[in-house]
Each structure stands twice: as structure tokens, then as C-alpha cells.
Assembly symmetry: C2
Homo-oligomer: 185 residues x 2
């Protein structure tokens, strides 16, 4: 029987190593070292660096994403932004997510895992938000849910991950208001 505390230590070490040096530079020796564990313990569980990361990302996907239903388009958008900002402000996540996204451009397996873990969930939430708003008469039926997601999450991602400047007071409110206006246009 594999010891679960060792498994957990390895999983945690992978996250830390991923954040510290990135997928490309990450080594199994480094993971074992950080976890305070023998290399054998790692190889006994996973056959490669890739399967280790795929396993972690998939576990993340299983969590699912709560769909906001506040009763108004603005409320839903604002709630989605809140969740996204919360995730992207975690120092580990804000390092790991873009790193894996870049890697996924070169590795179809990572790409699939990321899509399933993050993007598909967000697409689904966006689709629900748009559907409800259309039912309420807040948006036209022709509104494209994917473009809605772009308009809602894009500015936040750009600021937090690309430009890497902070979130000023009231920024999420402004972006939410702007996104609603953009979708109505």
C-alpha cells in the first residue's frame, strides 16, 4: 500500500516546483528533493513528469465551477469576475496557469487537460449567464457566449497576468459594468 502522506507531499511539491521554476525546468529529482522523498517514491506512482502534472490538473478540473445566478446580468458578471480574480491573485495559480497555458501550445495532452480543467468550465458558466440574461430580456438572442467570456474575463486576465499590475479599488465593478455595456452594444 502506497503511503498517502508521501503522495500528498509529492503533489504539493509539484505545485510549488511548477510555480517556482515552471514546467519546462521542473525535474523529478527536484520534486523528490522538495518533497523530502526518494526518487523511487515518485516513480512508483507516476511514470513521468507529464503524467504527474496531468494528474494534478485533472484533479483540479473535478472541482467544478459554481454558476452564479444572482438574478441580473451585472450581478452574474460581477460574481464570475470575483471568482476569477480570486483565483488569479493566488501567487501560485497566477504563476502556474500561464506557465501551463504556454506549455499547452506545444503539448496537446496538456492542452486538453487545461481545456477540461479551466476553459470548458468557464465557457459553460458564460453560456448559462448569457442564457439567463436572454431569458430576462437583458441581451439579444444572437449574443455569442464565447465572445461574452472574452469580454468579461479578458481584461482581468490581461491586467493580472500580462501586465501584472494590481487591482485598483473598484476595478472589478468597472469591468463588470463595462462588460455588460459591451454585450448590449
Amino acid at each position: 500500500m502506497l503511503r498517502e502522506d508521501v503522495t500528498d507531499a509529492i503533489r504539493a511539491a509539484v505545485f510549488e516546483e511548477l510555480a517556482a521554476v515552471g514546467f519546462a525546468r521542473m525535474s523529478i529529482e527536484g520534486i523528490a528533493r522538495r518533497a523530502g522523498v526518494g526518487k523511487t517514491a515518485v516513480y512508483r506512482r507516476w511514470k513521468s513528469k507529464l503524467s504527474l502534472v496531468l494528474d494534478l490538473v485533472s484533479a483540479f478540473a473535478a472541482q467544478g465551477l459554481p454558476a452564479p445566478a444572482t438574478g441580473s446580468l451585472y450581478g452574474d458578471v460581477r460574481a464570475l469576475l470575483e471568482v476569477a480574480a480570486h483565483a488569479l491573485r493566488h501567487p501560485v495559480a497566477s504563476q502556474v496557469i500561464p506557465d501551463l497555458l504556454v506549455e499547452s501550445a506545444r503539448n496537446p495532452e496538456i492542452s486538453d487537460a487545461i481545456k477540461a480543467a479551466l476553459l470548458d468550465g468557464q465557457r459553460g458558466v458564460a453560456a448559462l449567464i448569457v442564457r439567463d440574461a436572454v431569458a430576462r430580456g437583458e441581451l439579444l438572442e444572437s449574443t455569442d457566449a464565447d465572445r461574452a467570456l472574452d469580454v468579461i474575463v479578458g481584461p482581468l486576465y490581461w491586467r493580472l497576468v500580462v501586465v501584472r499590475s494590481g487591482l485598483p479599488e473598484g476595478y472589478l465593478d468597472e469591468v463588470a459594468r463595462g462588460a455588460v455595456a459591451a454585450l448590449r452594444a
Copy 2:
């Protein structure tokens, strides 16, 4: 005297290598191999992988960014989007830029170079667009240029680099219209 054709071959090879394997995995041996050049020729010019990349990025920065002045906010936004989309659709650029952005989170020198080469230019353009629009009465004086840039470029970056789906017909028009509406809100 260093031969210029050799220098150019190395520069080109760095770009290709950067796009193919990313900064983290890129090696000087690999660059020399790709350029069809001895390792010595590389070390005679640059002292490390980092200085090689910094040199290239800085050269890119020197180009500058044309500031649109179409006479309307929508026209300016649309023009800025056109330039950005053109850059991000180049397969090399769409691979290299996010890669260096991720790397810049770990390396202040890369971060500074990227800021100077890309972000500062875009911030300046956004500031000009906002200033003109305010003068025309299209926007309030209180409009924040940085947030404007987020709203304009964010959705495009999200779609082209993060989600990596294509640009549907008329997408740039819609985003431009949406961004203008968002800024007015």
C-alpha cells in the same frame, strides 16, 4: 571584424528556437546548431542566453508603435486592435510573447525588457487614444487609460493566446464596438 551574416543567422535562429522550445529549454548549443554556426561564434558576441534574448527584445522595442488618429474613438480602437491582432496571429510572435511574459515573472531583466518593448508602447497609444477622445467629447475626463487598454486588448489576447481559438468574421468590429461601449459606461 565579426561577420554580419553570421550575426544575422544567430539572431534568426534565436527567434526560431524561442518559438519552438521556449526560453527555458532553449540552449546555446541548439541555437548554434540551428544557425549552422560554431558555438564560438555565439559566445564571441553574447555572454549568455539571457543577454542574447534581451538584445533581440530591445531591438524590437526600438521599432516603436504607430499611434492611430482616425478621428473617432471607434476608429482608433479598431485600428489598435488590428495591429495587435496582426502581431498575435504571427505563429512565431504568438508563441514567443506569452513565453517571455511567463519568464518575465521570474526574471526582472526580462520583465523590464518586455515592458519597454511592448507594454509601454501600448500604454502610450492607449493614453493618446483616450486623450483625443476626451478632447472630442467622446469620453469623460476621468477615463483611465490603463483600464481602457485592458478593455480593448484584453479580450483579444484572451481569445488568441489563452483560448487559442480563431478570429471569427467581424470579431474585431464587435470587440471594438464593445470596448467603446464599455469605456462610455
